[in-house]
Amino acid sequence: MKAEMRKYRFEDHISDAKFEAFGDTLEQAFESAALALISLMWDRKVVESRIEYGVKVTGRDEKQLLVAFLEEILFLRDAKSFLLSQVDGIRIDRKKSICILRAFFRGQTYSESVPTYGDVKAVTYNEMKIEHNGQFRIQVVVDL
């Protein structure tokens, strides 16, 4: 839990949820953001890594890429009843003006045994920040 707390932290936001996520690399910070996001929805430690999805998303800039990446978690939740537990092998490449992210999502399908919390409807650009100052720091507001 301690290690996880260093990866992200929640800030106060009046109607929605705002978090900061950290990493030594952009990839790590993205992964931390994914963990922050799922912490709002279910207890990932109870989710078993039974299924794997290879994920590829693109964006015109890092922020659009971040939205697409986090939205992929919501998409798989709704369309496949997939509960994410961990993100592996995350890699971000840049080809001309396009950022491409590849990763593996591991988790399981919905089951009564996994405690769930609130809903996240979408990932917004509101107050979004992606900063690099020795460490990568991401700030995201999600719509609940």
């Binding site: 929805m41 015109r60 009843s81 919905y110 719509d143 609940l144």
Partner: protein, 473 residues
Amino acid sequence: MEIKRTGKVEWEISVSGNMRVPVIVYASECLLAGVRRDMTLTQAQNVACLPGILEKAVVMPDGHQGYGFPIGGVAVFDKENGVISPGGVGYDINCGVRLLKTEYDADEVRDKLPALMDGIFQDIPAGVGKGGRARIGRKALEDVCVNGARWAVANGYGKEADLQRTEEYGCFSGADPGCLSSRAVERGIPQLGSLGAGNHFLEIQKVESIFAPDTALAFGIHSPGQVLVMIHCGSRGLGHQVASDYIRAMENEFGFKDLPDRQLIHAPLHSPLGRKYFRAMASAVNFAFANRQMIAHGVRDVFRRIMGKTEGMDQVYDVCHNVAKFEKHRVLDRERTVCIHRKGATRSFGPGRKEIPAVYRDAGQPVLIPGSMGTASYVLSGTREAEERSFGSTAHGAGRVMSRHEARRRFRGEQIKQEMGNRGILLKSAGWKGVAEEASQVYKDVDEVVRVSHEAGIGKLVARLVPLAVMKG
């Protein structure tokens, strides 16, 4: 920022900077103090800068900080030169409220409440990751998106009269499911007929007091103690995906460099992309109407099983509070068709408007305002003043005052259930953390919100409803 008082509960921020129109805020002093603490008014000023906006941007009494548009934000755009903004509709397209009345008295249902709630909890899927029970394919989903609640009624969910008592008669025109991405369709198929989570809920309520007996009677609400059922939910993942898809598409087409807030991305109404978004949004509006129709049908089924009969279990009304649509309004002293964005605001049409079903045309449109979990909800009636002052709009709920994070620090779900239990309110939820986030203390006082609506003339008080049992998604 300078804000001047223009009425007892009306305030104005004059045009400055890039604003094209002023901002009008409906609030009491205490509600205004609340919105001044966060970004609500800045966000309203940003809306006032959008191309083609006419007359004013309006903030409702329950206004609070959103992203892009504030929640409780209303703006109208010129049909020819205006824009449409997915951020001005919100992610939960046609999030809305449906109210069913019954002919049961609270005393008759009290002993049966646990059984009713068990039945509802069992029959109506709620919570994170929970899909609906309807097994539909892609073709049926397209049908849902074109025909809305009409599809549901045609397929055995509810009755024709329900459609009469639904905004847009349960079927929003202009939908084209061909404008939905395959991801939106894939998110929609498994979720039809489910409540969702977060602030969505289903409540068994009773009438506590009636303020306008004639109007109440027209709405089928006749006496204190009468039992009603309120359903609050939206277009689920399908609607969320439509918003995300079109925000991205508009960014890629128009860029976002000049925007004060990237979430305010928009497209000209007449651009191919603007039209396409409208058709996709309309599809999500219809999905939500069908969704609430199916949930209402499920509720009637449970009542039939547990209580024996459902005579008189008629729909009072169904309103959407996240939507963009074309409506006729008197704008800048001339009647014109405009594209109105209501984000967290309810349509409030006064007597005589042709959009209101004949049964309510003399009374005005029923306006349904849910309170927070465990507090009162209200029925109001739409007014002509609302048409003059707020483009026929009023508040949509209580409006948050505390973050969910803070709420989780302060409250425990189990403890809230206990407290509600002490007040005789039964609570069932898919998750405790979510219960803490929705504690009534995190919301504005709904009583104050509706009082301001009434005082501003943009929604007239009809009845106050209090919960008997709550199912939180």
